[in-house]
């Protein structure tokens, strides 16, 4: 492929994010809403579309949808309703999906998040409730349908076409995921398909406001695939425009639906839009409209948990974390909650954040683990930071202790230090004093230099003592001792 002036173009992307809500039962039946069980065990007569079965709306799912709407400062409709969307496919038990077409429960709203260090706001068009389909499983000489997922509650969040780079797309999508996790509205598990993304992608010359024909890439379950898909689709479209300057956008980009192929890391054509189904939406007669009272909505608003962005603001303003660290921390709710738990035992948020997000996360990443999965108690990390702060151990020893904590996650850092003589803190003056004397005796020139005003000479002396104690001495104590003696 020849080099093309991509910088003169921008993608215009709108995302449809399907998030599976973590309710106990399904959207319209009492069957368990659970992933990973034996096929066709978490089903009821409703999930398999038995004649005579009727849907009954799960109130918990409605509550989670309302929470989401309020979390993104959207309009929560006091009156919304369900529609039937008709299409034939074996994973669709009734051959129609129950969704909210005409009157969704959430309209508008926005999400603000960092994109490569810059704060950006993305507009949401709508979010609606609908039920998931089952899953087809292909075997050598037949295909089976697993209806365990059929009827699982989904909220589909549709953005405005306000996303203009692959990074923006993934930042927006991860911000949505984070909100869902903070609301405890979804497990957000992308490998299990709890969050699936469809992207509508077009491109236009930078500076223009036109909307050119778009293609839809369906069913991506990772943020990196999303970035790749936007990137490659953008390049494909730009190349088409540049190679065919005399043809219209409509000719070059016929609207179509693509599927992201994990193997080839490319979008595979599924079907052209003009042949696409006419879904024949009409109001679902088996369900009453969802009518909410203002009081109900207000109650949910007043009991919303702290959301990622609120937490970010608090971290920066109250805890004095750097914007970078705060943004990093809020991204992963589990880790952020871990930080919150550790903060209960710590007075040094900056250090604590550093140890959690960088030191431990780095060490554990090699093992494919996290602090949470590896079961290192938050208290232990807080203790470690505390011991550094109180000069019980040096930073260098702390790193070794951290290694040991990863090796034996059940061990308290205090115990680790007690058990290893090498880590024993040398803060006791009696132990350090002879060494200080020895270094001072050996370096009269440095003492003279310090007295002559060269600050660096002191640092040299401290360093020499530290070297001799193999880093175990507390630099503060050494400093103090030297100053006293010279």
């Amino acid at each position: 492929m020849k080099k093309l002036p991509y910088e003169l173009w921008e993608p215009v992307v709108g995302l449809e994010i399907h998030v599976q809500l973590n309710t106990k039962s399904k959207l319209f039946s009492s069957a368990p809403n659970r992933f990973g069980d034996e096929p066709n065990t978490n089903i009821s007569v409703v999930c398999t579309g038995q004649p005579g079965a009727l849907p009954v709306l799960n109130k918990e799912a409605v509550k989670k949808a309302v929470q989401f709407g309020l979390a993104v400062k959207a309009n929560v409709a006091l009156f919304s309703k369900f529609d039937r969307k008709s299409y034939f496919y074996p994973d669709s038990p009734r051959n129609f999906q129950i969704t909210q077409f005409e009157r969704p429960i959430v309209t508008g709203g926005s999400v603000t998040t960092f994109v490569e260090g810059e704060l950006k706001t993305f507009q949401i068009n709508r979010a609606h409730l609908e039920d998931d389909a089952g899953m087809l499983k292909h075997f050598t000489n037949f295909a089976g349908v697993d209806y365990n997922r059929a009827g699982a509650p989904l909220i589909e969040i549709v953005s405005e076409p306000c996303i203009h780079s692959p990074k923006e797309a993934s930042a927006y999508a991860s911000a949505i995921r984070a909100i869902m996790l903070y609301l405890n509205a979804s497990d957000g598990n992308m490998e299990e398909g709890s969050l699936r993304i469809d992207a509508n992608i077009s491109v236009r010359p930078k500076g223009s406001t036109e909307l050119r024909p778009r293609v839809e890439i369906k069913n991506m379950n990772s943020f990196s695939f999303l970035e790749m898909a936007v990137e490659s689709e953008m390049k494909r479209q730009v190349a088409l425009y540049l190679d065919n300057p005399h043809r219209t956008p409509e000719e070059l980009i016929p609207p179509g639906t693509y599927r992201w192929d994990i193997e080839t890391k490319s979008a595979l054509f599924m079907r052209a839009k003009e042949n696409s189904d006419d879904y024949r939406y009409f109001p679902e007669p088996d369900l009453a409209p969802i009518v909410l009272s203002q009081e109900y909505v207000d109650d949910i608003r007043n009991t919303l948990p702290e959301l990622p962005h609120d937490r970010y603001n608090r971290y920066v303003s109250d805890l004095n974390l750097s914007p970078y660290s705060a943004a990093l921390l809020i991204q992963e709710k589990e880790l952020c909650d871990y930080f919150e738990a550790a903060m209960k035992h710590s007075l040094n948020p900056r250090q604590l954040c550093n140890w959690i997000t960088i030191e431990f996360t780095g060490r554990l990443k090699e093992r494919g683990q996290t602090l949470i999965s590896h079961k290192i108690p938050p208290l232990h990390v807080a203790k470690l930071v505390h011991m550094i702060d109180n000069n019980v151990i040096t930073g260098r020893i702390a790193k070794q202790v951290a290694d040991d904590m990863v090796a034996s996650p059940e061990l308290d850092p205090e115990t680790i230090i007690q058990q290893n003589p090498d880590y024993r803190p040398l803060s006791e003056i009696a132990e350090i004093e002879p060494i200080v004397d020895q270094i001072l005796a050996a370096n009269p020139q440095s003492i003279a230099d310090y007295k002559a005003g060269r600050e660096k000479a002191l640092a040299f002396l401290v360093g020499q003592v530290m070297k001799l104690t193999r880093g175990k001495a507390s630099p503060a104590v050494v400093n103090e001792l030297i100053l006293k003696k010279i």
């Binding site: 004649p51 005579g52 079965a53 009727l54 008709s86 051959n95 349908v145 024949r280 009409f282 088996d286």
Partner: protein
Amino acid sequence: MTNLHHLSAVELNKAFVQGDVTALQIAEYFLKRIENHNQQLGAFLSILGPRMILKAERLDLKRSQNKPLGKLAGVPVAIKDNMHIAGEITSCASKFLKNYRAPFDATAIRLLEQEDALITGKTNLDEFAMGSSNENSAYFNAHNPWDLECTPGGSSGGSAAAVAARLSLIGTGSDTGGSIRQPAGFCGIVGYKPTYGRVSRYGLVAFASSLDQIGPFATTVADVALTMEVIGRHCPHDSTSLDLPAESYSLNTTLADVKIGVPYRFLENLKPEARANFENNLHVLKSLGAKILNIDLDILKYSIAVYYILATAEASTNLARFDGIRYGIREKEAKTLDEIYEFSRKEGFGREVKKRIMLGTYVLSAGFQDAFYKKAQKVRTLVIDAFEAAFAECDAIAMPVAPSGAFPLQSINDPLEMYLQDIFTIPANLAGLPAISVPSGFDSRQMPLGLQLVGPQLCDVPLIQYAHAFEQATQFTRKIPPLFKGSAS
């Protein structure tokens, strides 16, 4: 006791409770009647003999132990074959479901069994309840007990025929556009379509969800009232079920100060015979103290058009699940997924069902939805409004059940003429209103005719009281078709 079939359900229940007859005797008596008559009548698609005997034995045991007995103890009840009895076949009179065993009980069935009814069997119907003559059954025709050459009406023709011929004393039906009331009228029995949502639709195979309503057939209004006390309950499995306590139906015999509205202009084209009967009925109502007044319901002339758009639209999606994947017929010749769908549906559905699925698909399609489906919805709202205005002036509305008495089988071949059968019954479905069909006399062929009373939403109790008063004054309900009057043996 002899001639158990001459009793009403209330009377038979009393006889059983008092010990005049055992449940086993009742079961054997009615099973014998079914065995003797079903061949000529075509009322039952399946007879649940062993089940009925078992239940009867349990009832006798219960009574011998002086345990409390249900409201319908000992009463034989026939079930339209589009309602689920767990473990039994629900065929919907369709080839598609000839082997489909219901995985659960319909709520109405559960309530009937809870109150100790003796379920006799599953009755014939137009396939998926689509039709007005029972001729759309994929299996065989049902016949009118008053004249076996005639239709019992539809779609609940089997239940109506079974009750009219006293093969059961109660029957269940589903009424989407008149499927209880019209066959009740044709067979000379009482048929009741309750307020939409009064009886749970859970376990009823849906035709048009926003119009379908389960209701009873019986030989007397009192029996209808008794059945309603049993099945008219809130059900958490049906989101459209009314969240109201069950009602009790006290019956009285006067219509003093009751205002009955008659949409005279809408009834302009009534044929002379039907008109004469209807006017007689109005005289009876008047004689009971009712005031008759003219009301404007001209909008109802659009009912059939609206109905055949909305009902088919809903049906096209309700019946989409019959695709050969999970249950029902799967055509063996099919090689691709599309062929499974195409061949299975082609093989499994009858002509009328296919026609309605296509109609419904069409009226919902992009480009046509505004002109058909959405417009029909608007007219439906106007119908509801018109009824509301009418009920500001009157307590109930009187109309004939159907334009005529039962017609001979195979005599109506024009689909539009067949659809016109439901001109007087459809409006109550569009507005979700309670409506009852009461025997009102006979035509010149000695075929029964019916009077329909329609009430405001939720006014099931007063409506049934009015019907009871009319029935007591006329006594047409105690007439038994001559062919079926004799005892079983």
